[in-house]
């Protein structure tokens, strides 16, 4: 696995919400880079701007100033269609609140990114079952998502994040809703993917133990990097 290539490069990135007197600076002159295959923890208190930083990196939000490059491409040069494609093909998302559709089957939930990408149904099913197997949930494929336990839900979410063979997985407080045992299992799974498949991990958390397992950490306070290791 090539670990030396830079995947994200932020240069004086700022994010300002609102205008005039109501303007609120969520991120201020952030500069750092992430290499392929790294695991990076973004830590900070709530309201520090760590989630905003993840949203900007994940192309869910555009920076107000500064330059953000992904795979050496300035994102301002990409059309919204290309941004959509980039998110669909390169990123996987794991959220604290899971965002599973309760009434759909686990398999249906997991293959959603492939459906969006326009992959044919038989192929979707095949890859969906593979992804579920890798998180040890293949026997729950046809259960409704609502019937899963918390840990199972988060594993299903990881299967969903994995299904498009992403380069990067963004995880926003992935263990925030789980007890420590199931949380540890989910963490193991994420770091296994990082190690075995070389998937870059970007984890937003305020959990020190989780942050410590990452190779690098960035600490955010009031929209600025106060510590980088």
């Amino acid at each position: 696995m090539p670990t030396s290539t830079v995947i994200f490069e932020a240069d004086n990135v700022s994010k300002i919400y609102g205008k005039g007197e109501n303007a609120f600076t969520a991120l201020k002159d952030i500069s750092f880079s992430v290499k392929k295959g790294e695991s990076l923890a973004i830590v900070g208190k709530s309201g520090s701007g760590k989630s905003t930083l993840m949203h900007v990196l994940a192309l869910l939000d555009a920076p107000s100033a500064g330059i953000l490059k992904i795979n050496n491409t300035d994102i301002t040069s990409l059309s919204s269609r290309n941004l959509d494609l980039l998110r669909n093909r390169t990123f996987g998302f794991v959220f604290q609140q899971f965002f599973l559709n309760a009434n759909m089957s686990v398999l249906e939930n997991v293959i959603l990114p492939l459906k969006i990408a326009g992959v044919a149904e038989t192929e979707r099913r095949k890859r969906g079952l593979e992804a579920l197997k890798s998180v040890e949930l293949e026997d729950k494929a046809n259960n409704k998502a609502v019937d899963l336990s918390g840990g199972q839900k988060q594993r299903a979410v990881i299967a969903r994040a994995l299904i498009n063979n992403p380069e990067v997985i963004f995880a926003d407080e992935p263990t925030g809703n789980l007890d420590s045992t199931t949380g540890a299992k989910v963490e193991d799974l994420l770091f296994k993917l990082n190690k075995e498949k070389g998937i870059t991990l970007i984890i937003v958390t305020h959990d020190e133990d989780l942050a410590k397992r990452c190779k690098r950490r960035i600490e955010i306070k009031d929209g600025q990097i106060i510590k980088e290791a």
Binding site: H55, A58, L60, D61, S80, R81, D84, L85, L86, R87, N88, R89, F93, F95, Q97, F99, N101, N103, M104, L112, P113, K115, I116, A117, G118
Partner: protein, 430 residues
Amino acid sequence: MKLIDILKTASANILQSKLRTFLTVIAIFIGAFTLTLTNGIGAGISSYINSQVGSIGAKNVFFITVKAQDTPATTNNAPEKYNPDQATKNVFGGQSQAVLTQKDLDIIKAQGHILDVRPEQNVSVTYVTAANSDKYQVSVTEFLDGTNLPMNAGVVPDNTSNQLQIILPYNYPSSLGFTSDNNALGKTISLAATSADGTISSVSATVVGVEEKTLIEGGSANVNTALFNALFAIQSQGLPAASLNKYPIAIAHFDSSLTDAQVTDLKSKLSDLGYTAQTIQDEIGIIQKVITGIVIVFDIFAIIALIAASFGVINTLLMAVQERTKEIGLMKAMGMSGNRIFLLFSAEAILLGFWGSFLGIVVAVLVGKIANHIATARFLQDFQGLNLLSFPIHTLVIIVVVIMLIAFLAGTLPARRAARLNPIDALRYE
């Protein structure tokens, strides 16, 4: 996302809140049901009238009268001046009516495309009787060549034949003592007319056909020219010369290959000469305009119901967008474009429109068939061949398409809202 997946997802989504979907579909259903029934009645009656047109006259015939003069009351309040050149004839109530003379007929005949013109003369038959039957009243009309009569038996009269021919209305054969319609064919019956001096004379005629029951013609017997002239001759005996050769109406055949525009031209040419020429279609057109007008009024009610229903669609989808805000955010985060989100919600609106209209027309057609069945068995049994409602397939397709379009338009507001959601705000939404 592929279109088929969008359609499947939309289908699954509207089934998730069944009660809400059901109520929205009901509102659309009512509109579609009403539209289908009103148009069904309009189409049923129109097609019946069209089929009846054939039985009262050929298509290339003008009924020509002297153009009505400006009525004095509406022009200058002065009584109308006497015009010595205008032939008149006394009609009921002592009023005189402008009539056509041989001179007028010659002028009309001289117009291009007019094949022949002759006065319409009325014959009143005193009675009709067969070998061993009672005497019955009957009214007769001269058969117009080219008329398409619905026949129960036999053929239409032959105007070129010297034989005196008649076709009987449907209810005469049994009264005249024939065992069946076919039994009457070729038999001789006797028709009597009364002359001006009160003498009753009769002529013998051959039955060549039996006519179906029709709405418009109202049971008069068609006779050929030879029989008509024979009866007219009896009736005219002893009339004063002044009453002869004055005709209220003339019948002119025109070239049947004329286009509608050429017919209109011919009409206006005759109008310039002071004659009013009307075809059967003109007269039927008036009835159809009335029916169309009534159908349009009902259609407007149905459209109002559909507009109300479209607010139901808007409401349903706005609730769906609200409920599924996070799901929309997730799909956008995963790279689904705003356009596709718009399509997804539009597809839900269109599906609601489709199911409402589809169920509406299916139930309306069923109700229509039952109504037809009851009507033709009961109060419409006098109208052979009348279907109260008819449902041409293209009308049904148009209704479904129009309603799907209305639903789509109603869905654009919520769909746009969904398409414009910011994924982060949507994911944070509580």
